[in-house]
Amino acid sequence: MVKVTVPLLVFCLLGAGTAQAQVRLAAPEDCLTNPNCAPGLERVYGGGPPPDQLVKLEVADAGIQALDAGRAEVAVAFSSDPELSRPDVLPLRDDRRMIGSDHVVPVIRSSVARRYGRRLTRRINAASQLLSTLTLRSLNQQVIDGRLPEAVGGEFIDANGLGGEARRRPGPRIDIGYQDFAENETLAHLYAEAIRAAGYRVRVHAVGGLRREAVRAFRRGRIDLWPDYAGSLRQFLNGRAAAPRGARLLRRAQAQNRNVFAIKTETSRRLGIRTLSDLVRRWNARIARAAAEPLQDDQWAISEGSVLDLPGAWALTQGAGAVVAVVDSGTRLEHPDLAPNIWTNFREVPGNGVDDDANGYVDDVHGVDLTSTGAAQNLNDGHGHGTHVAGIIAAAQNSRGVVGVAPRAKIMTVRVLDSAGRGTTGAVAEGIRYAAANGARIINASLQGDDPDAAVNAAIEAAGAANALVVVSAGNSARDIDRQPSYPAAIPAPNLIGVAATAPDDGRDLDSYSNYGRISVGLAAPGGQILSTTNDGGFGYKSGTSMAAPMVAGVAALMVSVNPSLSAADLRAKLLQHAGRAQLPVAAGYVDAQASVRSVTTAVPYRSTQRLRLRILNATRKGKRTQVQLSVSGASAALKRYRLKLGKRTFSVKARHSTFTVILRGTGRRVRVDALDRSGRRLGSASRAVKKLRKGKTGVKRGKGIGA
């Protein structure tokens, strides 16, 4: 191992003067006449884009692509464009309220509303209530991904409890029209499904153009209902009425599709533009480059030429909000490059000898020690392996030493290997369960053993239920593990990914020691000559698949930070899907941080569009308290609250998502949870027997041998 001295702190500030910068605006052709674009800027902000700064968009909804292509610095987009949810894109604040609201609103023929009465209109209003702008972005993203608007709209209604079958109601068919763009078509089908499920006959068809055609089709009696946008419709009617004669607006959705002026966050910082006032007023900006870490040049794996492609991913996120468990030999917690990113269990009082949070472990403030059965937690790293792994994942960007793949993620220490680097599969299994139960979304296990253990398989399955992705090293025996398995890498699970190691300088070739397997090993990542934190407080190099796995764990942490709603299976799928293709003997290729992180910025996983699924992962009692860990997946637009029944008592808990824990005062033999919508209708339910809390560390001495 080579030790490296930390050089003096070096700041890199280039071109720190003022520079003329152009601010081009990409906008559709109608910007020059649209009151929410150039004329509005002129009227409200006292200036518009100079003619030579106006870039015409041939495709109205391609504004963000113009930013990506560098054709403009600011672009007009629609607020329901999913690309606006990207972390590198910022809507400029309309600080003088120039842009009018434009809520989705169903317009219905008054005579039809009268004929079918409130039963029909209530149904349509209930569908509108489910629609927020973010929901609309999610629906649009599904269509962009290639799904049919009819299926997307219908599935949304089904998944949020308004679908199903009802007895056919007598009366004429209700004709629903849509304007010629995908969002409007999706909305038309969404309303149609809500109405059809209540027993009304419906037909959906295009009206062949935009608003003018929809209004004409209504006047000619071809349609009875269409989804429109309240602000634009009023503008179309010259402000004289909210709806055409003979029509009436039903309840407006919270969702809007209005003009937004979008800018890249980096451009916003560089040019100092955050509001529309800034856009009109300011044209000069300072150009500066962020400070780099002193040893960053020695970290080949994170350089711009590496296959990992990290700098591109960091433009989107640095991992804030993600917790990564390092199941290893412990961590030097006070290492200056790790200390800022050590996970803390705030429900545990340090050093009081009590299991304050009732999770079975005493004083697990920063993690747990599973190398001994003693109650205390000694997380110190007597071996050095765990500290090195932790630094690869999340060494802080603090101008000290190195930088991790996800420099703002938090490290949870799960010590399973002793100072000789040896442990048991029982401890590993318990460590994985602990990590998942205590909030880790990513679990890194840079471990290798030759013997399978059903307890580890079960723990990985339990981690999957809690939405945790387990990243493991392929092993360092230079063998094909499809033929001669290495564990845990060879365990088949939808939330586990095995990683092989590649060598410097660009990480394109497998390192000589690395295990591989076209079926069992999903990815390859830099693992040779990796510089990271050491357990003596300094920095040093190590090589192995143990170093490759945390590269992937770090990338996964970046992805979770951008899109926390992704399931572990979706995370794994995205990592595989966006790997750089290669001739390496692994299933997918090299992990590509930039492509993987970018892929989740607007991703709408299939599971999130389906009916809500509720699971109780754990229900334990200690004294007079009951702790319930819940996992929620699926559509949640309608979700308002949970009702928990424990014995004879009922508790109400506000809607929360993903995996979370609630503590109830009282005990009972069984707990039942119902997910409810605004009207108290049940969207999903689950129940489970309550068990007495068992003390932890039961698996420490069990199982087979395993090592770093």
Binding site: E58, V59, D61, A62, Q65, D68, A69, E83, Q142, I144, D145, G146, R147, L148, A151, G154, E155, D158, A182, P492, A493, P494, R518, I519, S520, G522, S567, A569, D570, R572, A573, K574, L576, Q577, H578, A587, A588, A595, S599, P605, Y606, R607, T609, Q610, R611, R613, L614, R615, S685, A686, S687
Partner: protein, 268 residues
């Protein structure tokens, strides 16, 4: 007896556990996933007791290896099986996708060959005056998709030679609708779209072969690929019933035909 009765009553009083619900789990091609998701939705509309579906992407290779390792019931794939794929897998294809080369309707270029295509991609052909059959003389405006899009994957694998140094600077869009609208509105543009999005555009021949339903189904047109599900051995149970519906029902064919060419039970 009394205890048995009580146990039975208790079981009836409790909701069915989530695990009892039948689920078909599939992973694999993100090009095939939206189509399978649509088919799953309409299958559920037609079958009251349809199972739940659990779909994730990961790419064709992930679908193949996950199926082989029994992580999922089946793998969604967007290519034919190859000899070096994991053994013991059976493909049930149900759709064909074709990527057509398109220009603006006012620029009816008859076709391009492989060499010309490499010249376009390498930036050696920059003006329409260099392209035989084009009535235009202005600069060529190429269009492509963001990396990862299904049509882009097909285009890269079929039309781009490994030796070609890519030097053209195309406009990048997210969806076929955006590409279609751009090419429709831009007389000097060329691009590529799935066959279902050709309306209003001119379709170029490639190596003399037109992009038509007949040439795609017959295999003469090179830029086509099958969508299907692989299973360990022949499909069984719920998945077999779903696939039978996909390959025989009128509704499934209609859903597939919105974007692709349906393949029936006979393979056509």
């Amino acid at each position: 007896m009394r205890w048995a009765l009580l146990a039975l009553l208790a079981a009836l009083a409790l909701p069915a556990p989530a695990a009892a619900q039948r689920t078909i789990s599939l992973s694999g091609s993100t090009s095939a996933l939206p189509l399978v998701a649509d088919l799953a939705y309409f299958y559920g509309r037609e079958h009251r007791r349809a199972p739940r579906f659990d779909l994730v992407g990961g790419g064709t290779m992930a679908g193949l290896t996950d199926t082989k390792r029994r992580i999922v019931d089946g793998g969604m794939i967007s290519r034919a099986l190859r000899p070096d794929d994991p053994p013991g897998l059976v493909l049930t294809p149900f759709a064909l996708s074709a990527v057509c080369l398109v220009t603006n309707a006012d620029n009816p270029v008859p076709g391009v060959g492989r060499a010309q295509m490499q010249d376009l991609l390498a930036g050696r052909l920059t003006h329409w005056s260099q392209v035989p059959g084009s009535p235009r003389t202005d600069a060529i405006i190429p269009v492509t998709y963001a990396p990862g899009a299904g049509a882009r994957t097909v285009f890269d694998s079929v039309f781009v030679d490994a030796a070609t140094l890519i030097a053209y600077a195309p406009r990048v869009f997210r969806t076929a609708v955006q590409v279609r609208d751009f090419v429709r509105a831009t007389p000097a543009a060329w691009g590529y779209v799935d066959a279902a999005f050709r309306r209003g555009l001119h379709t170029m021949r490639y190596e003399g072969v037109p992009c038509t339903r007949a040439t795609v189904a017959g295999g003469a047109y090179p830029a086509s690929r099958p969508f299907g599900i692989v299973t360990r051995g022949r499909p069984r149970g719920e998945l077999a019933r779903f696939l039978r519906w996909v390959r025989t029902s009128r509704k499934a064919k209609k859903v597939i035909a919105t974007r692709y060419i349906p393949l029936s039970r006979s393979g056509q």
